[in-house]
Symmetry: C2
Subunit: 242 residues, 2 copies
């Protein structure tokens, strides 16, 4: 049994349910991974948990899997958003991968004053999140939103959502313990771009009533390092690492 | 003034000290970065802090800088080692970069039972650590050791050095508070390879008197993600993030 293959599918999963494969999935499973009829693998769809399934039909361009039994229930990550400013391609890909692994529920690329990029390949980033979920054993795939302006997002910031603001100008401030209400609320983390936030952005983020400022140590971290470090700080304090 | 250029040099630094540049440094500074005589930049050598220096001579293949004033004192990272099993090239490079940014003092690639690589390019990894130190504003460059067997390293484990063992089989164990003596001691972090540790290795690491087991959450992290997460946990608890 090759239980190491985990595949994300956009199809309902349940006992006896048959799951048709598209051309890419068939190519991966039968061409690349050399699976044949009778082979077993794990499926998840972000909604029905993880299921063991068996290959019932296999051809070059299509295939059918039959679900057998649930191997893990659906486990949703905490209601945590990660806001980050897209940077170079490889590091942006890494941030999305890391956010999925570390258990962010939603990933929001934002344009800041010092962000160069004015577009992202949302579909490619979403595919990275799927791949990370397949790899890390998660049963959930975070949604990658399309690029939006940070200022607009803050204009309509949800009243209850707390914001952990990683300000590299604030060396040495540990994350202060939030009130019980804030600790139970939905959260977001915002990571600055490589050039830092503008003074106007910093002021605005500091002034936001939902804002919790935190320092990520005395060295300047690259954005992808900062994303993992910030997610670690939050997950330990308020998330599902308990 | 282009104070954003930070260069690591292997030469003593001090007021009035002249620093000769080798061919690569001259090419970078004068060819790539278009600096000329009179330009100012920042130097550090891992021992004398950070200095502002001025270009006194510039040619294609050589150059001389003159130190003017110290801009930052030497700040050593905590006495923390990072042990990790080398993986694919890109991710190994990332681990070294991240370890330098996050403030590890020494980086030790180790061969475990499930590690495929039997050699590393120590010089290339050391160059990555230098580049990360230049970029993150640190005044210290961690040493990258040559590849060695984890089992041999454990045979001669220093008695006082505490070991944070990130065991992915131990879901949910937060880092227990160490005794006052252990908290003040030198430390190391060990990150498993992508295939995990062998049962024999896990037993040995658990049995080590200096061992402190910790979980990095309910999802399986890639080795490079785990390195940053583990360094964050440690730096917050015992390191220089206070």
């Amino acid at each position: 049994m090759s239980a190491k293959i985990r595949l994300y599918v956009e199809h309902p999963l349940g006992a006896g349910q048959s799951v048709p494969l598209d051309r890419d999935q068939a190519h991966y499973l039968f061409g690349v991974m050399r699976q044949t009829v009778g082979a077993q693998l794990l499926l998840f769809n972000g909604e029905d948990g993880e299921w063991r399934a068996e290959v019932a039909e296999a051809s070059k361009r299509s295939g059918v899997l039959i679900c057998q039994e649930q191997t893990r229930p659906l486990v949703l990550p905490p209601d945590l958003w990660l806001l980050f400013a897209p940077i170079k391609k490889v590091r942006t890909d890494f941030i999305v991968e890391k956010a999925a692994e570390m258990g962010a529920a939603r990933i929001l690329p934002v344009q800041t004053e010092f962000t160069n990029s004015d577009r992202i390949r949302q579909d490619r980033l979403q595919a990275h999140a799927v791949e990370a979920a397949e790899q890390c054993g998660g049963t959930y795939v975070p949604e990658v939103a399309d690029l939006q302006k940070l200022s607009r997002l803050l204009d309509h910031w949800p009243e209850e959502r707390q914001l952990m603001f990683c300000d590299e100008a604030e060396v040495g401030s540990a994350l202060a313990l939030a009130s019980e209400t804030a600790a139970q609320a939905p959260w977001a983390i915002v990571i600055g771009p490589e050039g830092g936030f503008s003074e106007a952005e910093r002021k605005r983020l500091h002034a936001l009533p939902q804002s919790h400022v935190v320092s990520l140590g005395p060295r300047i971290l690259r954005a992808d390092t900062a994303a993992v470090a910030a997610l670690t700080v939050w997950q330990q304090r308020y998330g599902d690492w308990g």
